[in-house]
């Protein structure tokens, strides 16, 4: 049984942006944001994390939801996801299933049903785990984030969110407000995860890929891996190798070898560095084949 520690924070649940801004301007330091809390609640209790002010974002109901903006002349269509949308909502959303399959595919493999009902997309990203299941799909979907703080909002590619394990580039008073996925109609995307159990596990490594073909050759490709470094990473050498080539299993296997070369996994209690390096080529090849199978 875990001993109860980490007491002594103030809790608030602002219901509007004005209220949130006022709280953040008044609080001097030690602010922590609470979304689904599936990781943070445990960390606060064990004392792994502590804060002076726990700011629950669930009062901002507009942070939940998934909506499509149709393509217009000169502008691609996109899907906008509020940062507090639950992982379960991603899993069952028909729009995402049809147009960004890698994301619901990852969502349905994250944690347990109870955790997916509670955990949020923004929370999974801001938690900055190198194996966050939603990270690799967002990298291959070219997602960008709208960040908000009392001093204004800004947009960044999802790739620029993470520094290292557990650490983002978000300012102390900054939150993720929205995740935007630009739509690409001719694209096939996929996600795969390696772990000892088929459910409930944190990945040893996970992988996502997106592919587009033109006249039988690869005209666009994205590969992203979790667990291959201290943050979720795009495998840009492997991508460059595949560009313009035919989409064959042999080329995908070669791309997998390149992906292992540009990875720098660490050893953890879940798996050794060597095991990760040995499995990265296999998972990379398989996820590319799966993305290819979704093209036709």
């Amino acid at each position: 049984m875990i001993e109860q520690r980490g007491k002594g924070y103030e809790y608030c649940r602002p219901g509007s942006w004005e209220e949130l801004a006022a709280i953040l301007c008044k609080a001097e330091a030690g602010v922590m944001f609470l979304a689904g809390g599936t990781d943070l609640a445990v960390d606060l209790r064990t004392g792994k994390k502590s804060c002076a002010h726990l700011v629950d974002l669930k009062g901002l109901t507009e942070l939940q939801g998934i909506a499509e903006t149709a393509a217009e002349e000169g502008k691609k269509g996109e899907i906008c996801i509020g940062s507090l949308t639950s992982i379960h909502q991603l899993e069952i959303n028909p729009l995402l299933q049809e147009k960004a399959a890698a994301l619901p595919e990852a969502a349905c493999q994250l944690g347990s049903r109870q955790v997916r009902n509670r955990a949020t997309l923004g929370g999974n990203l801001a938690n900055a785990s190198p194996t966050a299941d939603t990270a690799a799909p967002l990298l291959v979907l070219d997602a960008f984030l709208e960040l908000w703080s009392p001093s204004g909002s800004r947009h960044i590619p999802v790739e620029d969110l993470w520094q290292k394990a557990g650490k983002t580039f978000l300012a102390a008073d900054e939150i993720i407000r929205q995740i935007t996925l630009p739509l690409a109609p001719g694209r096939g995307t996929a996600f795969m995860k390696l772990g000892p159990r088929q459910a409930m596990d944190i990945a040893i490594i996970n992988a996502a890929a997106s592919l587009e073909l033109e006249d039988g050759r690869i005209s666009q490709v994205r590969i992203a891996l979790g667990g291959a470094g201290e943050r979720p990473l795009r495998m840009k050498q492997a991508e460059a190798f595949l560009l313009g080539k035919e989409a064959t299993a042999e080329h995908f296997a070669q791309a997998g070898v390149l992906a292992a070369q540009e990875s720098s996994p660490r050893s953890s209690r879940r798996a050794s560095r060597e095991y990760r390096l040995a499995t990265i080529p296999v998972l990379t090849e398989r996820v590319l084949l799966k993305a290819l199978s979704r093209l036709s």
């Binding site: 002594g8 049903r113 109870q114």
Partner: protein
């Protein structure tokens, strides 16, 4: 390190359809609020870190693990525990199915299993065995009696389907 007393906050919520108003410490877990404050003993603490599912309850109709949610976070919501499934002392069809199919061994995981199944059936009235397995992946049965549990949920769906 100074050990400051936790702050308190007033919460209003529905628990098993009864309106409640309590002032709770901000770090009181929902599981402890339900079990210790409201005496709802079906809510069990197994692991305390959200992995075993023994403390599963429905929050606004969705199965959640109440050991990793603070009571203050449930302010304004509706909670159903196993006690809430048995209206006026009569067990629900799902509970009856667990008995009929012998899906109860030591019983520790049973309330959580039933609440997860209740959440699943509300969303998907005709789940396949595979979907049930996936749904209860976060509920650990230390007696390993999973097969009977899956049968009980399938049986409930079947009975409900015959009635429609």
């Amino acid at each position: 390190m100074e050990h400051k007393e936790a702050n308190s906050r007033k919460i209003k919520l529905l628990v098993n359809n009864v309106a409640r108003e309590d002032t709770v410490p901000v770090d009181l877990r929902l599981a402890d609020y339900l079990r210790d404050w409201l005496n709802l003993k079906s809510v069990k603490e197994g692991c305390g870190v959200g992995d075993c599912g023994a403390c599963t309850v429905l929050l606004d109709g969705k199965a959640v693990v109440s050991c990793i949610i603070m009571a203050v976070e449930a302010d304004g919501s509706s909670i159903v525990t196993l006690e809430g499934l048995a209206a006026e002392g009569k067990m629900s069809d799902l509970q009856e199915a667990f008995l009929a199919k012998g899906a109860v061994q030591c019983g520790f995981c049973t309330p959580g299993m039933i609440m997860t199944a209740a959440g699943l059936l509300a969303e998907n009235p005709q789940p396949t065995a595979e979907e049930i397995k996936r749904a209860v992946a976060g509920n650990l049965c230390r007696c390993t009696g999973y097969q009977k549990i899956i049968e009980a949920v399938l049986y409930t769906a079947e009975i409900r389907n015959q009635k429609d």
